[in-house]
Symmetry: C2
Subunit: 318 residues, 2 copies
């Protein structure tokens, strides 16, 4: 069975990651997750994209709500509100336990990657879920009112102010303490038979991963070895299936379509999976030097997740 | 109405503190709580005696279980166990929220006292609940197997190993960073019309408070002003009403009786309330230079808590 590395953000990425996990042998998948949207709440480090992937791959995610754990309770959140803590970023009781645990171990000096691997194992996940870096990278967005931490914009302000600029502090900036590719991500990319870019937001889920020094080069090295990189469009029929990618592309002056996303991946990927609804864009994608794969790409259940995973793997390995 | 300062540990102290709160005008009571049994769990500071007093005075305590919050849930504890955290010290979901909140504020640089006053106000408590110090004091006990953190002995080992010695790190030791009386405790004692020592364990609840540099002297200053100090025996008919005080006194070679406790308070208190069951000890207490007050001292409901509070205040103020 092939060893596969997927790059993923939150919900959309987690869906395809689950599809890949369903069709690959246990342990043959590694998911490199965006940590740019990590943020401290109540003094605890919360890693929303990592945890969405973790809970999804562990079979613990709440699929109806779209985030957090199924059967979650909210007693602690109520008490935190009573004590005056801002609670616009909702943390359920069992979710809070993970943040308490992870923060304790970070303060004890462990690496984020070590903790993630151990937590996934304890929750029964054979897939390696790898934070894109151990050192913090923090995505910020500039709006008309200035720079905001990502979750402030994403959750508190419900993505309403238009995004004029995106920055990845710790990756692009502050060279002295800046993040770098971890040994685990390096080893996963060096040993990969296929690399998949999940249908996550290209601007704030995939871009921060690629901004971590070393990762883009490691992907390029893999391609020089003949390994194919295949991305899946998060934009279908001009709309993001989930989240603000469409509005962000528009505000940044880019084309709001699968083709607009493909343009961002020029030189990075070999093939691009676009939905049947966007079949007409295939020739334009191919003119970018990217093979276009037209397929049903909307994942509504485990069967469609696995089906899309097979299409992606075929594009990588065929 | 008189202004009263009570020194208290956990459950027994909280009961009399509630009685005093019931019979005094709102805000006329300050409770100086033991912080010697504070300990970090999951990287969060837990203050068991403080929180027992807080929850009791806020009307939120679980009276049947004897600790924690009424109607508490345990979802986070289950997840912490699944993640491999030791969970012998049980923390409910809403209780955990307080520890998260307090730890966040301490890490932000606030004083423990400031946080305690704010938390009590948010939970609707007019009584000032004052940690005995802002800097950590940590009670340790020596057993045949060596020194243990207090909660390790108290909860994890269920108080089974005999205690050969007690130490209050941070109060008695480590002079450079050692704890001292806070301005709030100093002001409360300086303005007190009466000082009450609650029926808490004299060895590990009251002794650490008195070990904080400044507190014993401030009580002596109050007595020189004519303020009376009245203690209530936590030992009735040779047994501790709650907790290990009787076994600890025995292991340390002291008399396991109200008289044994009175001996520890020589020179500190003016009067000592002993239960009717111990009326025969009254002459021996008086021979120590302490007025003996014989009264029903077992608190089973709010009426008996208030009744004992009135007896104590009468002994202070009559």
């Amino acid at each position: 069975m092939p060893r596969v590395v997927a790059l993923a953000g939150g919900v959309g990425g987690a869906k395809l990651a689950l599809g890949l996990q369903l069709v690959l042998a246990p342990g043959d998948l590694a998911v490199v997750v965006n940590t740019g949207d990590d943020q401290e709440f109540h003094g605890l480090l919360v890693c929303p994209d990592h945890d969405t992937v973790l809970y999804t791959l562990a079979g613990l995610a709440d699929r109806e709500r779209g985030w957090g754990l199924a059967g979650e309770t909210w007693a602690a959140a109520g008490q935190l509100a009573r004590l005056g803590e801002p609670t616009w970023f909702q943390l359920g009781d069992r979710d809070l336990a993970l943040h308490v645990h992870r923060t304790r171990r970070l303060r004890d000096g462990e690496r984020l990657t070590t903790i993630a691997l151990d937590v996934a194992a304890r929750l029964g996940v054979a897939t390696r879920i790898l934070p894109m870096s151990d050192a913090p990278v923090r995505t910020r967005v500039r709006t008309a009112d200035g720079w905001l931490a990502f979750q402030d914009w994403f959750v508190r302000l419900r993505q309403e102010p238009a995004v004029l600029e995106v920055a990845f502090d710790g990756a692009e900036r502050a060279p002295s303490g800046r993040a770098q590719m971890t040994p685990e991500v390096q080893a996963a990319l060096a040993g990969a038979d296929a690399i998949v870019i999940c249908p996550s937001n290209p601007l704030v889920s995939i871009a921060p991963i690629l901004a971590v020094p070393g990762i883009r080069d490691a992907i390029a090295d893999a391609r020089r070895r003949g390994i194919r990189v295949v991305a899946v469009s998060p934009i279908v029929a001009g709309r993001a299936l989930k989240g603000p990618a469409d509005r962000m592309l528009a505000a940044l002056g880019e084309e709001v379509s699968a083709l607009g996303v493909a343009r961002r991946y020029i030189g990075l990927i070999d093939a691009f999976v676009i939905d049947e609804a966007d079949a007409a864009l295939a020739p334009a994608v191919e003119r970018l030097g990217i093979r276009a794969v037209v397929a049903p790409s909307v994942m509504t259940d485990d069967a469609s997740r696995a089906a899309l995973a097979r299409i992606v793997l075929d594009a990588c390995l065929a």
